[in-house]
Symmetry: C2
Subunit: 417 residues, 2 copies
């Protein structure tokens, strides 16, 4: 096997543990130095490949790469940049392969969600067709947990833990104060059109009366009257009511002015204040709400140890698969047992992953639509298990700062992204 | 000295560490069992005293009381209930003393902010006047850090740490994505009319370009044009801009519909979306914002170890002061040195504490009004130092659940609160 370099890029919304996958890729590649030359990272994800703006990861010490395991967000820069279809913009794909060829890159590791799986698959096919075969391996990542064929998506376990911890803490707060102050608290969580994150919040409720009392899933049609009745009954029974609301819940219909992102996704948010106003107006209860937004996906300080371990493992496995000659696959996490949680590493063909969204099974949601079932608990519980604290200096987490050394360009051409 | 029982109550907005003060009071009182009988806690704070709804803390095991050190919020219930002035409602104070007398209570430990210091002082005076002297000691608590005569207020160090950690993490997130996605991120923090919490966020910025780039303090008049110019310059220089905004900043003037709480305080909030819309409209940058709200004050999972230690110490000291015969004082934390941080326990007369708000000194805020100075860093840095993690079970913090055994009523009378 001729020694080739590797290209690694981060794609889409970052997570608390995507850098753990980067550490897995780079550490495994360094061990396979007989097969894999240098790992180049794309500055700002795939944009770095298109513009030939590569980062030389060999300039980073082993200590810095190890520190990526406890550093949130995308250390090399990620991108919300979806490549067009082959028919629409073949030039983009040809450019990628031209850049890979110029830098003797034979391995493409793409760390992202459904959109990047799609890109990864196209690169795999087109490179073959163009006579410069590239082994393209997809490394799963998305806090939304909507990738198919894998037990979970790295990044999810940590937002799940953040959500469950936060709503438990807010529940203790409300319980303390509800006699004379706030009666209703709403935590709005990200997660797009899948309710996984809100469901994870449900783990905090262990005995009758525990927060959260109500979960709102995008998978369940919002029923104003039923919701208000449930809030009122909860306040009357327990003195307060705590709610975890998915950003993707359609509470009102007057939200046509929302922004659209580069992937054509609607910019979500605003559910919590809408619900709060509704409750105030119809029930008269004093409310507070929090909007977690990016805090939840960046919260490495409260990451799930299971999630960190899995994120690292899928990064390592991608390199092992590449060395074994595989291409066109996504690394998967295969659950073998719920309790104790046992999982192995597997693979799925990218053709079955790209652009497929996995939603919550209906049997994970209680009959009334407002909470999770025992089946959901069995699935979710192991994903938030374990704490994996970063080191601290002066009271603040000591996250890795990289050199990010640029690689000299070999092509005289520029490319408009 | 005749043996008397003690009454302990939590007041106002709860914090991540107010229960550590409760643990300090109860543990110290148990050690002084020759002087102090039973510690009764007010269910829902002072409301429990007025309604003779007392909790017998002797029903809680030593292990449960120790677990309060790692449990957020108010374990006995807190209240937003401000007693009226003596002139307006002398009956309230007389009722308190009547209940205390009925239960042989000679020590009153009130754990709260400025309003509760005021109540504490009135009890101290009136009980003397009524011939049933009660030793009233105030235990400082407020995440707002606005109590005078103490280096800091227990509860503040933990929200300070939460804010600094969160904005550092969000900064890493933005930095990863700003090339193709969100350019501006705003974190709205609680803290009422004092900018202490936002200032603490500033600790996360250690080198040029670090998040947060802009802090908005209520102490500085909001200047729209100057703010927008700063945001724009930051995005142009660093690719993104992160902002910590105090809820008390007056961004717009059209907010007259805000709710008023039981203390006559305006319900704040809504600064982040207002700023975000302004930035979008005037500069066109894509934004995201988070509203921390109660999550920050309940976040025991990321509490400052210094804060936990101080909260516990002021609780213990209150009992020691009572046993030593003191009354009408607040326990204080007296700074002896910045680095290494050295502090001792002291006291201040309640007459100098009640209803006095401590604002940020102007020399803690940079000349342009958008960040903190080195003087502020020297003050703030030790307050967030150290981590004090709660124990976890199945991935979730294992917070104390109390028995909360009611004390049999001795008065045949009810009291309307």
């Amino acid at each position: 096997m001729t020694k080739k370099n590797a290209f690694y890029a981060q794609s889409g919304g970052v997570t608390a543990v995507i850098n753990a996958s980067a550490a897995g890729v780079i550490e495994a590649a360094r061990q396979h130095h007989d097969t894999i030359g240098t790992v180049y990272a794309g500055r700002d994800g795939i944009v770095g490949a298109l513009t030939e703006d590569l980062i030389d990861t060999s300039a980073e010490t082993d200590e810095t790469i190890a520190a990526l395991r406890h550093t949130p967000a995308g250390a090399f820069g990620s991108a919300r940049y979806k490549l067009k279809s082959l028919e629409e913009n073949r030039a983009q794909y040809e450019r990628l392969i031209e850049v890979f060829k110029a830098h003797n890159i034979g391995y493409f590791f793409y760390n992202g969600g459904g959109d990047s799986a799609d890109t990864c698959e196209k690169i795999s096919h087109l490179s073959d067709e163009m006579g410069y075969p590239i082994q393209a391996i997809h490394i799963p990542k998305t806090m939304d947990n909507d990738l198919p064929h894998t037990d979970c998506s790295p990044g999810f376990g940590s937002v799940a833990k953040y959500t469950a911890v936060s709503i438990r803490e807010a529940g203790f707060d409300l319980h303390s104060m509800c006699k004379t102050s706030t009666k209703v608290f709403i935590l709005e969580v990200m997660g797009r059109h899948a309710g996984w994150t809100a469901a994870a919040g449900g783990l905090a409720a262990e005995v009758e009366g525990d927060a959260p009392h109500i979960l709102l899933f995008p998978e369940i049609e919002f029923d104003r009257a039923k919701f208000l009745a449930k809030v009122d009954a909860t306040v009357k029974a327990h003195g307060f009511c705590t709610i975890v609301a998915s950003e993707g819940v359609e509470v009102a219909n007057d939200r046509d002015d929302r922004d659209i992102d580069a992937f054509g996704h609607v910019q979500l948010g605003g559910v919590a204040p809408t619900l709060a106003e509704l409750i105030k107006k119809e029930l008269g209860y004093k409310y507070h709400y929090a909007i977690a937004d990016y805090l939840m996906r960046a919260a490495r300080h409260i990451a799930s140890a299971t999630d960190v371990e899995q994120a690292y493992a899928v990064g390592r496995a991608a390199v092992e698969y590449a060395v074994a000659g595989k291409s066109g696959v996504m690394v998967t996490i295969d659950r073998q047992n719920d309790a104790p949680y046992e999982w192995t590493i597997g693979e799925a063909p990218l053709s079955e992953v790209a652009n497929v969204e996995k939603f919550m099974p209906r049997n994970f949601i209680s009959d009334d639509g407002f909470h999770i079932t025992d089946a959901a608990r069995r699935y979710l519980k192991p994903l938030i298990a374990g704490e994996s604290y970063p080191p601290y200096v002066d009271g603040l987490p000591d996250y890795a700062r990289l050199t990010l050394a640029p690689v000299a360009k070999k092509l005289g051409t520029s490319f408009e992204v």
